[in-house]
């Protein structure tokens, strides 16, 4: 238990880290307990109540269809976090596997995979999203596929570089001479030594992923209506921003807070666990 608290204490000692942790916990709490925190159905329309300002009944007001914005923010958090966590986790797994194969495998395979990573990385995110949505149609799955395609090459490249650096180290050579097969060497001897920086990097990528989801939903390429999404809320608010700015504010604030939270937390984690990079 003390082992678990030590890094948390280190994070809490850093003001930005503490703020980041607080914001992340706040967003996660809101998403998990959305049903308890509000009695409104985020998808139920009631045009007679449209464009109501913030009040005791509707903490953040209502949108153009009379839907409660606070409920939509909380439930939108579920979507944002689901996309961010699931697709980042999937990207990590795929990136690690591909990076290990590229770094430990034969030279020709390494060259081929580097070419593949660079080709994937060269696609502009928005163009890639538009192309994928044309093929798959707008959906949450399309958003997650875009995120995975955008982030996997970066993770795989980092793992590959570190694997190449480690594969000729003495303890790996020793394991090889004792007859350990490549899968065991990668799993037991290399993976634990390369995964740390990647986890920190992934935590800092979460705001990027949330931004991709919100951006695609803003453009109508992501989450389908009536499912609440912070991006689609921004789009709703953009239409009536001059009269009813609170819709755009309600959609924008959680994106800003979540982005800041994960960024501050990620940077503090990096400073705590890899002091060489502190201040970069």
């Amino acid at each position: 238990m003390a082992e678990l608290w030590r890094p948390i204490r280190k994070i809490l000692r850093e003001p930005l880290g503490a703020l980041g942790l607080f914001l992340v916990v706040l967003v996660i709490f809101g998403a998990i307990f959305a049903d308890l925190l509000t009695s409104f159905d985020p998808t139920r329309i009631n045009p007679r109540d449209r464009f109501q300002g913030p009040s005791a009944a509707h903490l953040m007001g209502t949108d153009q269809l009379g839907r409660d914005l606070f409920a939509r923010v909380l439930h939108g958090g579920r979507i944002a976090l689901f996309v961010a966590l699931v697709s980042t986790a999937a990207s990590l797994v795929i990136g690690i596997v591909l990076g290990l194969i590229a770094g430990y495998g034969p030279r020709w395979l390494d060259n081929l995979m580097i070419l593949l990573f660079d080709a994937m990385k060269s696609f502009p995110t928005v163009m890639l999203a538009l192309a994928l949505v044309t093929i798959m149609g707008p959906s949450l799955t399309a958003v997650m596929v875009v995120v995975i395609l955008v982030t996997v090459p970066g993770y795989a490249r980092i793992i590959r570089t570190q694997t190449i650096a480690l594969k000729n180290s003495e303890y790996v050579t020793a394991a090889q001479s004792m007859g350990a097969n490549p899968a065991r060497i990668l799993r037991v001897h290399i993976l634990p030594n390369v995964i740390g920086p990647l986890v920190i990097l992934a935590s800092m990528d979460i705001p990027v992923v949330i931004g991709i989801e919100a951006g695609m939903s803003f453009l109508g390429l992501g989450v389908r209506p009536p499912t609440p999404s912070w991006g689609s809320m921004l789009n709703d608010g953009f239409t009536s921003i001059r009269d009813t700015a609170w819709i755009a504010i309600a959609g924008g604030i959680p994106i800003i807070l979540t982005t800041l939270g994960f960024t501050f937390l990620g940077e503090t984690l990096r400073d705590v666990f890899d002091p060489r990079l502190k201040g970069r």
């Binding site: 998808t43 139920r44 329309i45 045009p47 449209r50 153009q64 269809l65 044309t134 149609g137 707008p138 109508g220 390429l221 389908r224 209506p225 009536p226 789009n235 709703d236 953009f238 239409t239 009536s240 001059r242 009269d243 201040g279 970069r280």
Partner: protein, 519 residues
């Protein structure tokens, strides 16, 4: 240089710089580039896809086409529908079946295609009717027998029968634009997006897809010149975005969102004029009756009863538009007071149960615009209320306007579609798109009714307004009965322009680009 960058740039410094830049932008919000007096910048709601007068897809294309390929006649600006000569020095209806015309004597085609002649007029009109060309606008000239060339500049348009909408919805439209026979034949029979052999008061000089279309005054046009040296047309699909563009000074004229009209009329931006025009257009929910899941008319009727049209229109347009009862707007023969289906969720549920359509799942395709999305979400909620799950599919304009085309591969999968058609001032121009010939062209509901077709033909030759009224009302009742239509609204047209320009507008607010003038 690289060392300086390495030293000074970090993630945090970039974030700090971005914040400072954002703060500066907020402090100085009016740093837009002001429009040059010789350039008119207008917004169109869709980008150019084709320049052929026989195959245009959207109204903004027709505006451009009529500016660069001179039509025989075009509409007059103002509050009354009328026409004015453009390519002709004279045009006259001699009797019910004959129209005589004489071209102006020095209209030339660009790119070395010579002078515009009566042969070109004959070619331009007859190619629209030619069944081999499958022009969606063949109906505009459905009464045409032939164009007879009398001499180099004059000829006779012979009709097979009396044709009432000739002077309202055929001649003053792109259907009377004159193209060069030689040029079109060299192009293989169809004009694409490359403007060759132009002849109008403006010439298309540049088209950057999704960015802008530039028209320049035609130096060889010897008649009433365009009011501006250049017209820049920016394709901006969402009217709310266009309003922001206008307020930033990037546009001189744009249609607004209907839902923005109350706000803009109350608080017009400085130096601007906000106008509201009666619209002839119609918006409706179409249901593809050939789609496997929707073949049973009881399911389609159930959907009609499930939709609360009042709420859909009120929610989408914030009370600025009224509910429509058909495709023919008030003021035209055939405008109706009501539809034959009412909002009755219980009846909808009963019909669905009778048809055995439990757990029905449908898709609803829409254009990616805020008003359409809002309307679609109310429809989605209405359908959910009777047990029909509906998925909304947002499309950009390029994709949307080909969804129901028989040339594509989606038309049979299309289920529900929220559409809006622009309109000319004759009821036949509304009904023509739903005839059997238009199935898979513009008739995406695939409504195929022989009686409707016969009534449409009857309406074209009937000049008694009372009888026409009866004919067109009956046609819309047949559309009701098919279960394939839920009529929503005619909208209104909201537009905003700088007070430094005098826009040339049809009575319904549609632009006549060559007639825009500096105020």
């Amino acid at each position: 240089m690289s060392s300086i960058l390495k030293k000074d740039i970090s993630r945090r410094s970039v974030l700090a710089s971005a914040s400072a830049f954002g703060a500066a932008s907020l402090a100085f919000p009016n740093m837009a580039i002001s429009a040059d007096g010789s350039v008119l910048t207008v917004r169109s709601y869709s980008d150019l896809q084709i320049l052929d007068p026989a195959f245009w897809l959207s109204l903004p294309e027709a505006d451009i086409i009529k500016s660069i390929f001179a039509p025989l006649v075009d509409n007059t600006p103002g509050d009354e529908w009328g026409w004015r000569p453009v390519a002709v020095s004279s045009i006259e209806q001699l009797d019910d079946l004959t129209v005589a015309f004489t071209l102006r004597d020095n209209i030339g085609f660009t790119d070395g295609y010579g002078q515009m002649t009566a042969e070109d007029v004959k070619f331009s009109i007859e190619r629209i009717v030619d069944p081999e060309n499958e022009s969606p606008y063949a109906g505009d000239w459905s009464a045409l027998k032939e164009v007879e060339v009398k001499d180099k500049l004059s000829g006779l348009i012979h009709l097979k029968n009396k044709f009432v909408p000739l002077w309202t919805t055929t001649l003053p439209t792109a259907a009377s634009c004159v193209v060069s026979q030689k040029a079109v034949e060299e192009l293989g029979g169809k004009i694409g997006t490359e403007a060759v052999a132009q002849s109008g008061p403006y010439l298309l000089s540049e088209w950057v897809p999704k960015q802008k279309t530039v028209l320049k005054r035609n130096p060889d046009w010897a008649y009433e010149p365009g009011g501006f040296e250049e017209i820049h047309i920016l394709p901006i699909e969402d009217p709310a975005t266009a309003e922001l563009g206008f307020e930033a000074g990037d546009l001189d004229y744009t249609w607004t969102a209907v839902s923005s009209l109350p706000r803009l009329k109350e608080n017009p931006p400085a130096g601007s004029v906000v106008e509201e025009k009666p619209s002839l257009a119609y918006v409706w929910l179409g249901i593809n009756q050939d789609n496997e899941a929707l073949k049973d008319v009881r399911i389609r009727r159930a959907i009609q009863h499930a939709i609360d049209r009042e709420t859909v229109v009120d929610a989408a347009y914030f009370g600025a538009a009224a509910v429509a009862n058909g495709i023919i707007a008030p003021g035209l023969p055939g405008n109706r007071d009501g539809v034959t289906y009412d909002y009755d969720p219980d009846k909808a549920r009963a019909l669905l149960e009778e048809a055995g359509a439990t757990n029905l799942f449908v898709t609803l395709d829409i254009l990616n615009q805020s008003e359409r999305l809002t309307a679609a979400q109310v429809i989605q909620a209405n359908l959910a209320d009777v047990g029909v799950q509906c998925e909304i599919k947002q499309n950009d304009s390029g994709t949307f306007w080909t969804l129901g085309s028989k040339d594509g591969d989606y038309f049979m999968n299309l289920q529900l579609v929220l559409s809006r058609f622009s309109m000319n001032p004759d009821p036949s121009w509304a009904t023509v798109w739903f005839t059997p010939e238009q199935v898979g062209v513009w008739n995406w509901e695939r409504f195929d009714n022989a009686e409707y077709k016969a009534l449409h033909e009857e309406g074209l030759v009937e000049s008694d307004p009372a009888k026409r009224d009866e004919i067109y009302k009956k046609m819309q009742a047949l559309m009701d009965e098919s279960g394939s239509y839920v009529f929503l609204t005619h909208e209104v047209v909201g537009l905003i322009h700088k007070d430094t320009i005098d826009p040339g507008l049809k009575p319904n607010g549609e632009p006549l680009l060559p007639l825009f003038r500096p105020a």
